[in-house]
């Protein structure tokens, strides 16, 4: 029952029942990708394909994509595929000499070097042995960190950097794990929801952070303030390790849980997660006066699905 699928990049089939439009056709393993002219050399074969000499086969179960001469197979539920410059959220697994090892959803653990991290006092200087011994004051095991992919090491693992103020330890919030294929690479991954007072970070590796809003101070402003007022350096150092843990208000905590549940519902239904959709879902749940835990019930899943159908049919109508 092998289907012969011509190598057109996407087949659009409109499902009349619920207005969903299907994009692409899943191809199965060992699908012989031969163009009608039987000429393999016309194309460049990318990820997910294997050149077997006489023909080219797909090695993963996924959707065939074609960009000009490049043909590749995009698998759906696979692990994260990193690219340089991606914003990711990870959890510290190990504190090693001069580096931290983070768990991101990849085939190997990522490495955040001590030199790729801003020191708490904000001064740019060479890391000394004392800095190495004080690594635990910055991050410990099980901390959640936001960072950016700097590059690949020669053994294939990721090199991260967290040099900006917006990267670093994330506190007072919730970490969600969803399949990476539901998070699209966009220009903006950090979102601040004003009306709820919540920060939302969409990590490209499928880890999403929902937490209480933290004011990100501009690094240059802080340096100037520090230089002018030597007393402020003490307070700046203490900011990293706050002596009085501020508790989050109940209202903000409930909003955090609502947003987290909305994202969980989206991931369970397999829809692409983006900011507008999530905020609409939260508004929907508030308008229906649902309790936070009631969002995870089957009824709400159905309503979210209906909302998504509406949204997609609207966008196709606009096109």
């Amino acid at each position: 029952m092998a289907l012969k699928i011509s190598p057109i990049c996407r087949l659009f089939v409109l499902l009349l029942g619920n207005g969903f439009s299907t994009a692409g056709v899943g191809i199965k393993f060992l699908y012989t990708l031969l163009s009608p002219d039987s000429n393999i050399w016309d194309y460049t074969w990318g990820h997910g394909t294997l050149d077997m000499g006489r023909n080219v086969i797909a090695t993963v179960c996924g959707v065939v994509e074609r960009v000009n001469k490049l043909v590749y197979v995009r698998s759906l539920r696979a692990r994260y595929k990193p690219e340089i410059g991606d914003i990711i959220v990870g959890r510290v697994i190990e504190v090693a000499p001069k580096r931290w090892r983070l768990e991101i959803n990849f085939s190997q653990d990522a490495v955040l070097m001590l030199s790729s991290m801003n020191l708490p006092d904000g001064i740019q200087r060479r890391r000394t042995a004392i800095d190495e011994l004080n690594m635990r004051t910055i991050f410990v095991e099980n901390d959640v960190i936001c960072a950016e992919v700097r590059g690949f090491q020669n053994d294939g693992s990721l090199h991260l950097q967290a040099r900006s103020q917006k990267y670093g330890k994330l506190e007072n919030g919730k970490l969600l794990k969803i399949p990476p294929y539901l998070v699209k690479r966009r220009k903006q991954h950090f979102h601040h929801l004003d009306q709820y007072g919540v920060d939302l970070i969409f990590g490209c590796n499928g880890f999403i952070w929902v937490g209480e809003h933290v004011d990100v101070k501009d690094a240059t402003v802080e340096d100037q303030v520090n230089k002018s007022d030597p007393q402020n350096t003490d307070s700046a150092i203490l900011q990293g390790s706050s002596e009085e843990p501020t508790s989050t208000s109940l209202e903000i905590r409930q909003y955090i849980c609502r947003i987290a549940n909305a994202i969980t519902v989206f991931a369970a239904l397999g829809f692409m997660v983006n900011l507008e959709a999530v905020t609409e879902t939260v508004t929907l749940s508030l308008s229906l006066n649902l309790g936070v835990h009631e969002m995870l019930e089957a009824e709400f899943h159905v309503q979210v699905a209906e909302q998504e159908v509406e949204r997609r049919s609207k966008s196709t109508r606009r096109k």
Binding site: M1, A2, L3, L15, F20, S21, T22, A23, G24, V25, G26, I27, K28, F29, L30, G48, L50, I57, T59, V60, C61, G62, V63, S75, L76, R77, A78, R79, E103, S107, Q108, D109, D155, G156, S157, Y181, L182, L269, G270, F271, M272, E308, R312
Partner: protein
């Protein structure tokens, strides 16, 4: 005992060349990277795949390829009498090794160096042919996890009782003492990755029985492809653009 009656029907009413009913489902274990459940008649098996992920035992890390680990276990309630020891007994260790070698032959391990792929297979209901059902379930789970493979591995068993080659033996036929041939193939590449047999068979009859098992494997292959295609289409539709 008569395993094939004069009309040509077996104990469960099947014909000698007939397979049991196949049922498969993908994505049954939500925490795993890939998972599947596979049923061949009354034999029900669940497979879960974790990986590729960081190698947990540094000494076993391989610099040029992925480490494939497999664990086969039978649930206490899977057989007629409740089992006392489900893991670690010789049969489970042997089958774990067999499944590992079979899957390792088809996974493109050199694309994922320094990582580890874990395959956990558990038998929920055992009625003969558990080895084959486990391999089929593991293939589906690996496909669900998006792990690159050379081809799907499908497996089927066949036997020889009452002078008739029988396809897809169940527990009663298996325990009859006749030969039981388990074959695992890469259908499109037409290569055999697993071939095991209990008892003895003359060469010419063995060739017939093995050919029958290979036909069974190809039937399983077309079914698995159907399931994977449907599953991928559904996921892609839901995801949207």
């Amino acid at each position: 005992m008569e395993y094939v009656n004069p009309e040509g029907l077996r104990l469960d009413g099947r014909r000698p060349m007939e397979m049991r009913q196949l049922r498969a489902e993908i994505g049954v274990v939500s925490r795993a990277d890939g998972s599947a459940s596979f049923e061949m008649g009354n034999t029900k098996v669940i497979a879960a795949v974790y990986g590729p992920r960081e190698v947990q035992n540094r000494s076993q890390q391989m610099n040029d390829q992925a480490l494939v680990r497999c664990e086969y276990s039978m649930a206490n309630f899977s057989t007629g009498d409740r089992r006392r020891k489900t893991k670690g007994d010789r049969r489970s260790t042997e089958i774990s090794l067999v499944i590992r070698q079979t899957m390792e032959a088809c996974i493109l391990t050199n694309l994922m160096p320094r990582s580890q792929i874990d395959i956990y297979v558990q038998v929920l209901q055992a009625d003969g042919g558990t080895r084959s059902a486990c391999i089929n379930a593991a293939t589906l789970a690996l496909a669900d996890a998006g792990i690159p493979m050379r081809d799907l591995v499908t497996s089927c068993s066949a036997g020889y009782l009452n002078s008739t080659p029988l396809l897809d033996l169940n527990y009663l036929e298996d325990s009859a003492g006749g030969a039981d041939v388990t074959v695992g193939i890469l259908p499109k590449l037409d290569k055999v990755t697993l071939l095991q047999m209990d008892a003895k068979l003359p060469m010419d009859i063995f060739e017939n029985v093995m050919q029958l098992a290979v036909e069974g494997c190809k039937a399983v292959d077309s079914y698995i492809r159907e399931i994977l295609l449907e599953n991928t289409k559904t996921l892609e539709i839901h995801r949207g653009v």
